[in-house]
């Protein structure tokens, strides 16, 4: 009896959740579907969902017009590099904030977050002039630095919250055993911190991948990532829904696939210390 009730409840949940999930996912699904239509089918009235002549033509056109792999590679380098360097810089800071807190720790943390509130466009000219002087315009190095700095506060914050969840008792036990600071970090903390670091890497990779102001304004031909790739497909002349969809699908596919595989990690890891 109880089991039947549970099963019925489970069915209701399942149906409801799938409907909601599909509604939320629908814009992405529709984009992917449209990318396989011809331009005429893309705007046909009434719209067609699945029964159209699937074509790869749009992908061919997009690939012919722009070297997708180069944009992709730049995105990978910029997002990957900035995230990695950011985490390397943030781990010690977050560690010390979490385990050797002082009265000012919270202030420093909040101040770090507040640096993210500077409106980017207000400092475009100063930063552009600085980049010219440093020779960093249109270089991946320059973008790695900028994107890293943009995300650093979030990285520190996330790591700090993870580290705080590591029970201090274990550390003290290790210290009693005469472990040095280095050993403490390497053997005690790291294993416990790895899941947190992993989801930090993941979230910030996504944020860096999607950063569209600096990556667009500080690049030209060499370092331009997928955000610039998209900017060459938005509203050209004539019918463009299908080609735009193809370009969009190509721009979001890598991160979507990454997200798919790391979904468990993301669901588990994105706590920001909210679970207490």
């Amino acid at each position: 009896m109880a089991r039947a009730v549970t099963n019925r409840r489970k069915s209701v949940n399942t149906i409801l959740a799938w409907i909601v999930g599909l509604v939320i996912f629908f814009p992405i699904l529709w984009t992917i579907l449209t990318s396989f239509k011809t331009e005429a089918q893309a705007i046909s009235s009434p719209p067609v969902f699945l029964f159209f002549d699937w074509t790869l033509e749009n992908y061919g056109v997009v690939q012919e017009r722009s070297d997708y792999m180069r944009f992709l590679w730049n995105s990978v380098i910029i997002a990957g590099g900035s995230t990695l360097i950011g985490v390397i810089i943030a781990v010690p800071a977050a560690w010390s904030m979490a385990f050797v807190p002082s009265r000012r720790t919270k202030d420093i943390l909040l101040w770090m977050l507040s640096t993210k509130m500077l409106p980017a466009v207000g400092v475009l000219y100063p930063i552009y002039l600085m980049f010219i002087r440093l020779g960093l315009l249109d270089t991946r190095t320059g973008l790695v630095i900028v994107v890293m700095l943009i995300n650093l506060p979030i990285i520190v914050w996330m790591l700090y919250t993870y580290f705080r969840e590591i029970p201090v008792d274990i550390l003290e036990a290790a210290r009693m055993d005469g472990a040095s600071l280095k050993e403490e970090i390497l053997h005690v903390l790291t294993p416990m911190a790895v899941p947190g670091i992993a989801s930090t890497l993941l979230l910030n990779f996504i944020l860096a991948w999607n950063e569209a102001f600096w990556t667009l304004n500080l690049t030209a031909a060499k370092a331009a990532p997928l955000t610039a790739f998209i900017a060459s497909y938005s509203s050209p002349e004539g019918l463009f829904f299908a080609k735009l969809s193809a370009a969009s699908t190509m721009a979001i596919a890598p991160i979507l696939i990454l997200g798919w595989f790391s979904q468990k990690q993301l669901v588990r890891g994105l706590t920001f210390g909210a679970v207490k």
């Binding site: 949940n13 399942t14 800071a93 735009l244 969809s245």
Partner: protein, 288 residues
């Protein structure tokens, strides 16, 4: 408990991040302040010297200023409201036992992976277009006159697009928080015959308060500087010009860097007011 040794080690470890962020904050801030006191018109011979508070006065007395502050706050508030209410409901739903939970979760978080520019383009062209958009087809199918979303319901449309992007984030954080809720407590309450609503209000919501705070904090930081969604969809027309967008117009469209920089200073002040306000709530909830 911490020794002198570990304290200084801690400072040393914090140094790189703090110095970098200090640099990242101070250098542009100083430059913004410097330019905000100068008449700097890139298309008219560049920097033309010190003008005192002219830029500040001109920016704040411009007819566009207060509406833009209001628009900013409406967008931030609207998105927060939608993402948190729907996020809580979604988190509760996703926490229930069901078939294919993993797949549903991916479907729900997927929008978070989409670049803001792409999502704005897709919404604008494929959904909200008054002739060829899906919404228009849907409305016509029910015999209604299609809504011209981006001009007649511009602010709502932008809030909708931004909420779609941020709902997954809110849901994820709230979901992890719900999963940590003691199910025995809930079951006990259920046994006692507490109705669903009061179980939600007295047990679930308090448990989520911390997570909600986090969502508000992180999202506000990102929402204050929403730009791509407006740039792509309305270009600031129809009352969707936020403070960030107004600064963009001053700096890049009117090519008046001095005036834009003064706007930047105001934006920093606004951000700090919002931040101070947030810290008040967060601080309580977030005892370090």
């Amino acid at each position: 408990m911490a020794t002198q040794h570990s304290r200084s080690a801690a400072r040393l470890m914090m140094a790189p991040a703090v110095i970098l962020l200090l640099g990242w904050m101070l250098v542009p801030l100083m430059m913004t302040l410097w330019f905000s006191f100068r008449k700097y018109l890139p298309l008219r011979g560049g920097d033309q010297g010190f003008v005192g508070f002219d830029n500040f006065v001109r920016f704040i007395t411009s007819s566009a200023f207060w509406p833009s502050v209001q628009t900013t706050l409406v967008i931030v508030g609207g998105v927060l409201l939608i993402t948190i209410v729907l996020g809580v409901l979604l988190a509760i739903l996703l926490d229930q036992p069901m078939w294919g939970q993993g797949v549903v979760r991916i479907l729900v978080i997927a929008p978070f992976f989409v670049m803001p520019t792409v999502s704005a383009l897709v919404w604008k062209n494929m959904f909200m277009d008054p002739v060829n958009g899906l919404f228009a087809h849907l409305w016509k199918a029910f015999g209604a006159e299609p809504i011209v979303w981006l001009s007649d319901a511009s602010l709502f449309s932008i809030i909708l697009i931004v909420s779609w992007q941020w709902l997954p984030f809110a849901t994820l954080i709230l979901l992890t928080a719900i999963q940590s809720l003691d199910s025995e407590q809930l079951e006990a309450a259920e046994m006692d015959g507490a109705p669903v609503f009061s179980r939600f209000v007295y047990i679930v919501l308090p448990h989520l308060s911390r997570a909600i705070t986090i969502v508000i904090l992180i999202q506000t930081i990102f929402l204050l500087s929403v730009f791509a969604e407006i740039f792509v969809t309305t270009g600031g027309a129809f009352g969707t010009r936020t403070l960030t967008y107004l600064i963009y117009q001053r700096v890049l469209e009117s090519q008046n860097v001095g005036l834009g920089s003064a706007g930047g200073v105001y934006a920093i002040i606004l951000a700090n007011i919002v931040a101070a306000f947030l810290m008040r709530i967060v601080g309580k909830n977030l005892d370090a």
